[in-house]
């Protein structure tokens, strides 16, 4: 009983910390995205709230919190209020299996406790894929329940898009799974120990997964509904896509879910292809008991690099047309991902011990 309660307290506090960091990152990202975008477009971005606009997320949050919550006439009320939750919860729940520091087990009063991963389950990748596809239901439901043609069109587009690109995400990961021999994100990260030449994206033997990484990155940009694949919320065509009719906190939920998904996808590409918490060069990793400091630092740095990449792409590329999107997903990315699986498994068979 005592052990159970200790374990519960530890896990709950860990969940609290991870949730807090993720939600804080979401708040930071809303500002960071606007700043990075405007710097790339020779603008200044938010400058009014606080020095250099750094309090903008607080102002945005307050505004959304106190805004009137409107449910449009003719909307399906249950589905309408359920949709934001269905979108947000899977986006946040994925962080449960992301390892953000060394795989240590410490003993707290007779209870085994892993401080740097909430739960190291042996099907971590599958878990994340399953939950991110549940998020698509929320998008479709929100689009359908709003009783608005813009929302419905946005929801339909996103349904088609998510299904097409989830396939590519899944297939791009298979190569990594073949090399690591595990679905656990912790074990995948540990298989990439050493310098950056051991990361799966660059590891020369058996086969570098760089092509799979590019496929994964493109498909995950599409999965998070961001430019250039932001057809579900195409601002110039569909007002705001599936969340056109949402306001106040419900809108904030969709917004937070988008950013949480971005963070989750960045974490996944870090863990799967860029060696998770491992430093790019061995001497950059602190020895012994301080390894967790550099571990968390490198993990955060890599995740933020990918987040920056998302903004970078958004500032550079225009939106794809719908048929281009589908053709690119099914005729280009899918064959590449399949070919990568074949080649990787061949090489993994030829060089079994490298």
């Amino acid at each position: 009983m005592f052990e159970t309660s200790i374990k519960l307290a530890l896990t709950l506090s860990q969940i609290g910390v991870v949730m807090g960091v993720v939600l804080l990152t979401v708040a930071v990202l809303t500002l960071l995205e606007r700043k990075v975008l405007s710097w790339m477009q020779d603008r200044m971005g938010p400058m009014e709230v606080g020095p250099y606009g750094i309090l903008q997320p607080v102002a945005d949050g307050l505004k959304l919190f106190f805004k009137e919550d409107i449910i449009p006439a003719g909307a399906n009320k249950i589905m309408f209020s359920l949709a934001p939750i269905i979108v947000l919860v899977p986006a946040l729940i994925g962080f449960a299996v992301i390892p953000y520091g060394p795989n240590w087990t410490i003993d707290v009063m007779g209870v085994e406790f892993k401080p740097f991963v909430i739960s190291d389950i042996n099907i971590g990748v599958l878990y994340i894929l399953a939950f991110t596809s549940i998020g698509a239901y929320g998008v479709i439901l929100g689009g359908w329940a709003s009783n608005s043609k813009y929302s419905l069109l946005g929801g339909l587009r996103s349904a088609a898009q998510l299904i097409s690109y989830e396939l590519n995400v899944g297939l791009a990961i298979v190569g990594v799974l073949l090399l690591a021999g595990s679905l656990s994100l912790v074990e995948i990260t540990e298989a990439q120990a050493g310098g950056f030449w051991h990361w799966f994206a660059f590891d020369p033997l058996p086969f570098p997964q760089f092509i799979a990484f590019v496929v994964f990155l493109i498909a995950s940009v599409a999965e998070t509904n961001r430019v250039p694949f932001d057809l579900p919320e195409a601002e110039s065509e569909l007002v705001a896509g599936f969340f056109t009719e949402y306001s106040g906190m419900r809108f904030a939920f969709f917004f937070m879910a988008e950013y949480a998904n971005m963070i989750l996808v960045s974490c996944m590409s870090t863990v799967l292809f860029f060696g998770g918490w491992h430093a790019p060069l061995p001497f950059l990793q602190a020895p012994g008991g301080f390894a967790w400091v550099t571990g968390i630092f490198w993990f955060t740095a890599k995740v933020y690099f990918f987040l920056f990449f998302f903004f970078w792409i958004r500032a550079t590329l225009p939106r794809l047309r719908y048929d281009q999107l589908m053709r690119f997903g099914w005729k280009v990315l899918l064959p590449i991902a399949l070919g990568n699986i074949v080649v990787t498994s061949l090489f993994a068979y030829i060089f079994p011990n490298s």
Binding site: D42, I313, T316
Partner: protein, 179 residues
Amino acid sequence: MKLKKWIQSLIFFEILLGMRETLKHFLKYRPITLEYPHVKKPLPENYRGMLGLLRYDDETEKCVGCDLCEAACPSRVIRVVSAEVPGEPTKRFAKEYYMDMTRCLFCGLCVDACPVDALGMSQEFEWAVYDKRHLHLNKEQLLAIGDRAFPEREKRLEFQHPNVAYFNVSFKDIPEKEF
């Protein structure tokens, strides 16, 4: 040549070029934004802003109530009620002067039409109001705009051109003719 193009499309060459361009702008951060309410763009000299009524340097109004501005106005912004100056039957002034600035298109024809330069266009343009009726201006408001927009005032006509003023019966207190 074909091989080169093929390789370029394989590595997303054009997208990489675009990304290099955006990164260049990101690293060399030179915003062209003017932070408007704090920093204002310098306006051209002949900017046609808010209209105002002017005074002479002895605080008397320039307007003689001739109605020419009302006649020149293409959108019927101006309404003048003219009257005699009490005690001086040869002189008139604008007893009431109204401008409906909701209709004004800032063409400046009234300023051109005025024979005594009683109207002026200031550099003011921040005239957004919550109530449309706040744009129906009366004489006092227009004089106030003129006062704050043109602090340097002209002398009265008879002091500007004493030789001409000498022959004008309507001028009182004519200065000595200069020889």
